[in-house]
């Protein structure tokens, strides 16, 4: 079975992936003007500073939009459909593409409250996924 691609970190976004591996969701923040941005970029579009911080997030957010793949139009989805992908708006503002670990595709809706969980994918990569807010963490 073909696998979904794993992220290939670059020198401009490696700290994002490092934070996830350490069990934290951190989002890039301009060290000069404080603007959050995601995905990571080298330059602040607002003030052109290159200096960045990696700000810890609460991990709470809501589903801003979602799709459900029904037809496995890519080989990696053959054994996964129906497969929901969500765009989560974090309560701090940035939006992040992800999957929900405990919500069937038919129940995904805009506005659903969610909380980040960390999914080990390889020795280098941990993915930020989400579960329903208020639900017990899987396996707890």
């Amino acid at each position: 079975m073909a696998e979904l691609p794993l992220p290939v970190p670059s020198e401009d976004n490696q700290p994002f992936w490092d934070s996830l591996r350490a069990g934290e969701l951190r989002i890039q923040r301009c060290a000069r003007c404080g603007t959050l941005r995601h995905p990571p970029r080298p330059m602040c579009a607002r003030c052109h500073a290159f200096e960045v911080e990696w700000a810890p997030m609460s991990g709470r957010g809501t589903v801003y939009s979602y799709i459900v793949t029904h037809q496995p139009i890519h080989p990696a989805l053959v054994d996964r459909v129906p497969f929901a992908t969500v765009l989560v708006e974090l309560e701090e503002g940035p939006r992040i593409t992800s999957n929900l670990v405990d919500v069937p595709p038919a129940e995904v809706a805009i506005g659903l409250g969610v909380q980040v969980v960390f999914e080990w994918a390889s020795d280098e990569i941990t993915l930020p996924l989400f579960r329903r807010a208020g639900a017990a963490p899987p396996g707890a």
């Binding site: 979904l4 459900v68 990696a76």
Partner: protein, 374 residues
């Protein structure tokens, strides 16, 4: 100012199929030859070539096959399929500036039998670059990202599945008049649409563009020279492109940025346009483009299409009169450009009577041209 100084003097296309049985280079060359004959331009007058960056036939190969001795202007525009009108804009600017005399814009693609855009064969990034933040979660093709934007826009503006379905029904009715169209002989009702399966929700099967093997080409030259052929020409009243803007609102298409420049350049208003072609990789984007270009107010595009407003037969503003990417062929904007020229010349199979201004978008804001009968 560009206004009407340059024209699209000729258009050409191959047959559209699921398996062309020939190379993408051959498809491009056949379309170019047809377009040159249509324009009444001798091959050795061509001194410019432009292509999609995803096109596999480099200008040097095209030039060698055409026997060109003087390639004065060439280039490509990056992104993906959505750059046709941007290429026309650049070609027209070069001619208007006197840097070239005759520029051919071409596209040859085995989009069904070869590398398939619908599977991410061309646009997939293997988890690299921006793909690191989308592909691991199942955003693997252009369709996935555009479905995500569509769902949010439906939520904010109230666009319905039935309205989206009526885009497909409208275009199919147009294709049923067009013998070149893939779906020439197959009807589509709104019930067919709503009964079809989801591919990537909220996109049902008939909301998605075809995958096509085929070639297309346009010949641009000065309006003065184009008229010498004695054939009808499509003058470029206005042309503009718009690249990615990171600061725009999530539901905005690039047309939000492009439209004010285009209308100001043209010196006309959306209500002056007689017929419209829109890049319909996915049906809802016809509605979104009608709204973001200002043909209708935001949120009114769905009701406009649902009530038949985009139909050739009785609609106030016929849209995608050849059947578009949904029902004619998916030649990545080239077929919108060809159909827009045909409307300006009075040669469409769904001709809008007396059409003077023919609007063509090829990327929901990536680029657009307003053609004028001349």
């Amino acid at each position: 100012m560009l206004r009407n100084a340059v024209a699209i003097a000729g258009v050409g296309e191959t047959d559209y199929s699921a398996n062309s049985g020939r190379s993408e280079l051959v498809l491009a060359l056949q379309a170019i030859d047809t377009a040159l004959a249509d324009a009444g331009v001798e091959p050795d007058a061509v001194d410019g070539l432009m292509r999609w960056s995803v096109d596999t036939s480099a200008e040097g190969e095209i030039a060698a096959n055409l026997g060109m001795r003087n390639l004065a202007w060439f280039g490509e525009i990056s992104q993906a399929g959505n750059v046709g009108a941007a290429l026309v804009t650049a070609a027209a600017a070069a001619i208007h500036a006197g840097l070239a005399n005759v520029v051919v814009v071409y596209r040859g693609v085995n989009g069904r039998s070869g590398r398939r855009y619908g599977r991410g064969d061309v646009t997939g990034r293997g988890g690299r670059g921006g793909g690191a933040f989308t592909e691991p979660f199942g955003v693997l093709t252009p369709q996935h990202g555009l479905a995500m934007q569509t769902r949010r826009r439906m939520h904010e503006l109230g666009t319905t599945e039935r309205q989206i379905g009526m885009v497909a029904v409208t275009e199919r009715a147009h294709a049923n008049r067009n013998p070149r169209a893939t779906f020439y002989e197959r009807a589509l009702t709104i019930d067919d649409y709503l009964g079809s399966r989801y591919v990537v929700e909220p996109f049902r099967l008939f909301a998605c563009c075809l995958e096509t093997d085929g070639g297309g080409a346009l010949v641009l030259t000065s309006t003065e020279r184009a008229r010498a052929s004695g054939r009808p020409v499509a003058m470029i009243r206005a042309a503009a492109m718009s690249g990615f803007a990171g600061e725009r609102e999530y539901i905005d298409t690039s047309a939000v940025a492009l439209a004010p420049r285009l209308w100001a350049q043209a010196g006309v208003a959306p209500s002056d346009v007689d017929v419209v072609q829109i890049y319909d990789h996915f049906a809802p984007f016809v509605i979104f483009a009608l709204e973001d270009y200002g043909f209708v107010e935001r949120g009114d595009g769905g009701p406009f299409v649902e009530s038949g407003g985009a139909m050739w037969d009785g609609g106030a503003l016929p849209v995608n009169t050849s059947g578009g990417h949904l029902s004619e062929a998916y030649l990545q904007g080239m077929n919108q450009l060809i159909e827009g020229v045909r409307q300006a010349r009075g040669e469409s199979t769904a001709q809008v009577a007396g059409a003077q201004l023919s609007f063509v978008d090829t990327g929901v804001g990536t680029g657009a041209v307003i053609l004028e009968r001349g």
